[in-house]
């Protein structure tokens, strides 16, 4: 009975889309923190700008990849 209820709810609520949205929130927080910290670091040591920028971009790519893992799972689970 409970399984039927869950299936019924799942047919109305777009859980896959909600999952993708939650992943986007997480990635947004992560990328924001990386960007903010990189900005702070550049403000303190402007001469290190190049190095900080390149490592920040690589870190952002890592965070983004985690969000994309979630998107792939959402695509499959749809």
């Amino acid at each position: 009975m409970s399984l039927a209820l869950i299936q019924d709810v799942a047919s109305y609520v777009p859980f896959a889309a909600i999952g993708a949205g939650l992943a986007a929130i997480g990635a947004g927080i992560g990328i924001g923190r990386i960007g903010g910290s990189a900005m702070d670091a550049i403000a303190r040591q402007p001469e290190m700008q190049g190095k900080i920028q390149s490592s920040a971009i690589v870190l952002i790519a890592f965070v983004e990849a985690v969000a994309l893992f979630a998107v792939v799972v959402s695509l499959i689970a749809k």
Partner: protein, 365 residues
């Protein structure tokens, strides 16, 4: 300076005008024939998957595509024919007969045809989940992705063959070698040496360079939206999986005594913790290549999906007036993708170097 400025603005205006005219006229043409619901998900999924022919465009409702060879290893031996013999059919209604065997194509998979057609005129037998039950021959076809891969290999051979011949007697690069040399030096100095170490890095340079340039050129080719390119090769999980398996094999084969010791009997931690860590570390060996595989696959596939979704906004909103916004965002995302594809190629290479380096590291304790 001033004239350049004016010409670029003029070009921009002409470009926007042509985009508007083009989209409006296509729209007029399509609304004349029949009002057919445009299935965005289907179009996008069709694009990111592999195919037996290279679809270029639709012209007056007819698909224009380049046929590619179908190579099958069947029960009666080798069978080859061109994919055009299926006449763009993808629901198994056109039967191709060779060597006394009948083949149908259903959702880009080739099956042995059933005895007779089902209710939809399709020669495949479905089970309850709408999956075909027919047996299928071993498929070694030159599909769209395989074609794209061959093209990228030819391009790489051409670019690097050319740049190898562009050095003068003093070893100074000229022409295209001026472009490739800094990238090779970058992979050596920023990826290989810091991660693998001065002592061992040389052995892995060919692998790392191949990895970087092969992934990069395929990513970039996927971004180019017209015929010989545009295939979603590096967004195919089999492709990224094979690259990850190669990294896995190289890491495992080159693992030294310390590497295996740190996996199965971590030094410096209490025995109960060692028993707890061993399975985690062991699973980690396999998780690393799997994460490499998923990262590249997901990033590139997501890039293709986003660009196509933005273009599809025109067809979802059913008006040409949204096309400036849609095209603007598509170009914007494409420019970000140019950055992303380079970063993904770099990250795949860097992590491969990191894994190989960690397997060869020598500890002092």
């Amino acid at each position: 300076m001033k004239t350049i400025h004016f010409t670029s603005i003029k070009n921009l205006i002409i470009g926007v005008f042509f985009i508007l005219v083009a989209t409006t006229s296509t729209f007029a043409a399509s609304s004349d024939s029949e009002e057919e619901e445009f299935d965005v998900t289907n179009m996008i999924m069709h694009h990111i998957k592999d195919a037996h022919d290279f679809h270029i465009m639709d012209w007056n409702g007819h698909a224009v595509s380049i046929p590619l060879p179908v190579i099958l290893w069947t029960e009666n031996g080798l069978v080859t024919f061109m994919s055009s013999e299926f006449h763009h059919d993808d629901i198994g209604s056109v039967v191709v007969e060779r060597n006394g065997q009948k083949f149908v194509k259903f959702h880009e998979e080739i099956y042995y045809a059933s005895e007779g057609p089902n209710a939809d005129g399709s020669y495949v037998t479905m089970n309850a989940d709408a999956h075909p039950q027919n047996a299928h021959p071993m498929n070694f076809s030159i599909t769209k992705l395989v074609f794209s891969m061959f093209l990228s290999i030819l391009l790489l051979l051409w670019i690097f063959g050319l740049s190898a011949r562009r050095y003068d007697a003093d070893g100074v690069p000229k022409g295209i070698a001026k472009f490739t040399e800094p990238l090779i030096v970058f992979i050596r100095d920023e990826v290989a040496i810091p991660n693998i170490g001065e002592k061992n890095y040389r052995k892995f340079m060919p692998f790392l360079l191949t990895l970087f340039f092969f992934i990069w050129i395929n990513n970039v080719m996927g971004l180019v939206p017209f015929f010989p390119f545009s295939a979603n090769l590096s967004g195919n999980i089999a492709f990224t999986g094979v690259l990850a398996i190669i990294t896995f094999v190289i890491t495992t084969v080159n693992g030294n005594k310390d590497y295996w010791k740190h996996i199965f009997w971590m030094p410096g931690v209490p025995v109960p913790m060692k028993l707890f860590l061993a399975p985690i570390e062991f699973i980690g060996i396999f998780i690393k290549p799997i994460s490499l595989m998923i990262r590249l696959f997901a990033n590139i596939t997501a890039g293709h999906i986003i660009v196509l979704s933005l273009i599809s906004l025109i067809f979802i909103a059913k008006t040409a007036w949204i096309s400036p916004a849609s095209v603007f965002f598509a170009v914007f995302i494409s420019l970000i993708e140019v950055l992303v594809v380079a970063i993904q190629a770099y990250i795949f290479t860097m992590l491969s170097a990191l894994y190989i380096g960690s397997a060869m590291e020598e500890h002092e304790h």
